[in-house]
Symmetry: D2
Subunit: 344 residues, 4 copies
């Protein structure tokens, strides 16, 4: 049994983690912490879990967490994780950080985009970017996993095979992504009210969204050269789901078969489905899947590659569990769903 | 391994059954049939299940189904099941009918409310009304299970303890129930279009809804006398969930404690949660749970008892699997979820 | 031109009032106030009104408002209006209060249900309950109009003809009402977040909702005797709309024609539509209409009367304008919509 | 009074036209036709309009329509309009076609994209593309107005100033557009069911959507050279609204001020709002407005220009009325809303 702790257990991602781990056959939840609700039962905050997880919530205290836990999941606001993870912690527990603090290899890039200081730059090189379909082998030996962002997981996985295989021009890439509202978190903000979100769609963070450098880092690495791209997120009136629609100019004479071959890099991946039809977020809802599809437009010379995930599962808690499974040598799919009920 | 067949596998209830049984450790799907989509793969119709259930759909043929299947689930329009189930079929396979044909003990009541002929009245007495929390012991020995309706499961379970214990007057009961749109099925009807359902609420079937006699039958049995009640369903702009709000006049001098004692009949039930707070359908979404709560109003002398279920799970496919588990001597909770993720 | 002031202009009801009055041919907005946003432009807070109402918002100051305004609309939290309206104010400006402070004739009933002190009980007898279809003649001569609540408008208007005509038993009445989320206001509350409301339905305020005594007051007056009834509100995942489904036991031998005659009290009413079909909130969205329909159930002896309104229009801002039109001798329908676009 | 006829009055666009014209002070509806519902009252099909438009629906017969009508609005499936409009009709009545038959100047382009024959190519040169903000002067003298499509109105108006002023490179333009579900019409299609649309987002018609050549035609004309671009539409779980997010590479040394100057072409336009904030579809809901905003990304050299409309108003019925106002010399804004209520 892997003993697991969660700091930030009552945010939407943290709670999804509680939900998934509660059904995981090889995990035991030993420490659930919540800054806002310490002292209450988890199921008081999430009544849907009554009878399944009625543990008392404790204060966010990584030192106490590390006493019992083999793995500590962090689901905290940007800037907090880098202030509490230390080499001592990592000796005792593996850390899987659902936040952004250890995703960017470059401290300065982090500080520019996140407008906050990074408190433990020396740990950056000990961390691995936890996207298993790309970095599985490296993840296996690590103690500090930077769990990728939601938009980034979806966008990187959609574009990675094309960039890796050199099928598209690396400048001019546009990612137009759409997310359900759970991505905005559980904070009591005007812009998250039902009546402010429902029956509307908007772009936000245009040219400035923090997931941009994360996507660029991974795709640049795949391409072997620096990529600067356009990323635009949108808020969609639905609970869950991300759809990334990626536009890139094909290199000369690239064929449908070339593209198919490039995506065959995902063959055998338990959480990737290559579709003939176009992805819809409902088909991955509640699962750890990535659905990917693409179309070549001969009129424009573009390829339009599309990916869909559940932002709280493959985009957060599910991928964190996938990483935990890898780190602890469990079956990678353990506790994770690979088929979606519909309508859900 | 219990070998299972499903006739009507591509309706919403049938598909949920495929989804649940695909994750059930002791079941094998041996025959999936769909009148509309025979010849296609299940995952062509429900792409969310690609990789999990890619079986070819066959014609609805109960005789072929019975050749291999230990249990046949029927999810068919009213009137069809009673025309195809026979004693011969029941000798070979247990039948769990998600439709209405075997729910009412009285043929005439059926024909009045359903406005169609019942083709096998002799089977009515061989059938059991498959609400495990009330009829568990009887279900165990039966070959023909009439799986209860969605509104009825929710309404009966909410009121049953009060009626059984004689705490409420049996005349004047009002059930005001609200359902998500999946209850209307997958038919291409104007009234089910997104733009006709979204951003609106309406009552329908006022005084005439077919679930009325089913609720009356079960509560009358519990009360030991005939109950006639008011049932009003509503369409809510959401995918899933039923909320039954039940109004009854308390008998004289009934106390909070009397009511609490009455509901203790559900103690130990794996799928019933008695709440202090009020039920919300999101807290049972995707699960086989029934959440129940109640309030006494001293001003009016009424009790307001409220129950919530997921109409496609406890209201259809989940309860069908619960019944299967009972009939085949499996753990009753096998393959069924008891905690809800939120938001979902 | 009627010069109008609004205190509380940036709540949902206040903003709807700005929207309606901006299109009213005989009104001029002379003073818009907002406690939270004073100093900003109205259209900064409601960008949908850019170009139509770009006025600067001022502090909530009824004395300044009364200097220029013929009518002051108050859309404030409970307890505030009774602290600022005085005889001096009423000499200078008519006051239409969208809040609850002057709706209940009885100070004690107010203080029990609202759990706050009433600061100007002497004004209660000068106020009129501003439901024009019932109190039109009295409204004409008044300076202080208590604009009815949303649930109450819908519920009273649905039941009034039956109670007035003595067709139903006055005990045992049940009102099961459903509201869109704008009824919860624009406050940044956890329970109003998109992800907490969407894809779910719940009852709330069971046995305790403050609109109960308001409905009882008006129906008791109509009946000529004291009525105590059951009122249960629900939160529906949609922006707007209220549906009141009212259950009452018919008196002996009441016929369909009796009921039809009773409802003919609404003949000629510009904002009441009696339907043969069942009401749906979408059919009154954006309008000042009340749609009403009913069914008699011979099995139970009940009548089920159903009404639908837009909670922000007939349930708040629209009715306030209707009252203003009456008080100032304008055409009662001026500036108010009587037909709904669909889908909206 | 302009006497108006509508053929196809019970589709969503046709019904919105009935709604708008019912409130238009200078129009009289003289002939409403519906292929599916001839013989019924309009308000039987759209009960929200009961009391406002209870006219009987007739058969789609343009000859009968032309007897009384000064203007005939056509809201018909592609290919029908070109078969019934003739020079004789145009002599008697002006025709405003909400469909696609007269939008493309080139018959072959039409037939390739619409996969249907054009029945009256000789009328193409008599038609004008009815986008008033661009072609107002030409519209004034015409009898046959091709009312633009919904996606196209939004996309063209967003990009037009940039292309016209030569500020962006004309190759590599990407338009990623999102639409509410009313754009899919009122047909009883599986893909339009509530449970198939709700809680999901998808792209569709990738590389093949018929609005592509319409956008290219207008922007090519503005640019003075041939433009081929990428257009991708999406289905959003909401009733109304279109958001077009347009990506283009800026020409060298283009400044923020250059862009601002380019958009000043819309100064004085009654239905265009240039925003500093980002557009959201809710802020134009129910109105004939276009909200436009843009951001320059110095990192990528791109401009992201965003526009929002209500697809049934500025994207269909509202623009049709705007065109009617122009053709008949009425005030252009007559009967059309310029401020949005929110939440709606």
């Amino acid at each position: 049994m892997v003993k697991a702790a969660i700091l930030g257990a009552t945010g939407y991602a943290g709670a999804e983690l509680v939900h998934i781990l509660s059904g995981h056959p090889d995990t035991e939840l030993v420490y659930l912490a919540s800054h806002s609700y310490a002292g209450k039962k988890f199921s008081d905050i999430y009544p849907g879990m009554k009878g399944v997880c009625d543990q008392e919530l404790r204060e966010d205290d990584i030192k106490k967490a590390t006493e019992n836990a083999d793995v500590i999941f962090l689901s905290l606001p940007a800037g907090l994780a880098s202030g509490i993870v230390t080499d001592e912690i990592l000796e005792k527990s593996a850390v899987i950080d659902l936040g952004a603090d250890f995703r960017l290899h470059d401290k300065e890039t982090y500080e520019i985009w996140y407008k906050t200081e990074h408190h433990s730059p020396s740990l950056l090189e000990k961390a691995v970017y936890g996207l298993p379909e790309i970095h599985r082998e490296v993840i296996k030996g690590k103690r500090l996993i930077a769990n990728p962002g939601c938009y980034t997981t979806c966008s990187i996985m959609t574009l990675y095979p094309l960039v890796k295989a050199g099928l598209v021009k690396t400048d001019g890439i546009v990612i137009d992504a759409k997310s359900g509202t759970s991505g905005a978190g559980r904070g009591e903000k005007l812009g998250s009210l039902f009546c402010e979100v429902n029956e509307s769609i908007k772009a936000y963070g245009v040219t400035t969204h923090r997931h941009t450098p994360e996507i660029e880092q991974e795709l640049s690495e795949a391409a072997g050269k620096n990529i600067v791209l356009q990323f635009t997120p949108h808020l969609v009136p639905m609970n869950r789901g991300i759809l990334s629609v990626c536009y890139a100019k094909l290199e000369k004479d690239v064929t449908e078969e070339d593209v198919r071959n490039a995506y065959s890099v995902y063959e055998g991946e338990p959480f990737v489905r290559l579709l003939d039809t176009l992805p819809e977020t409902r088909y991955v809802k509640g699962t750890n899947l990535v659905d990917i599809s693409w179309r070549i437009d001969k009129r424009t010379g573009n390829i339009i590659a599309m990916g869909a995930i559940d932002n709280l599962v493959k985009g957060a808690a599910g991928q964190a569990v996938q990483n935990m499974n890898i780190v602890f040598g469990l079956e990678e799919t353990e506790g994770l769903k690979r088929g979606a009920s519909c309508p859900l």
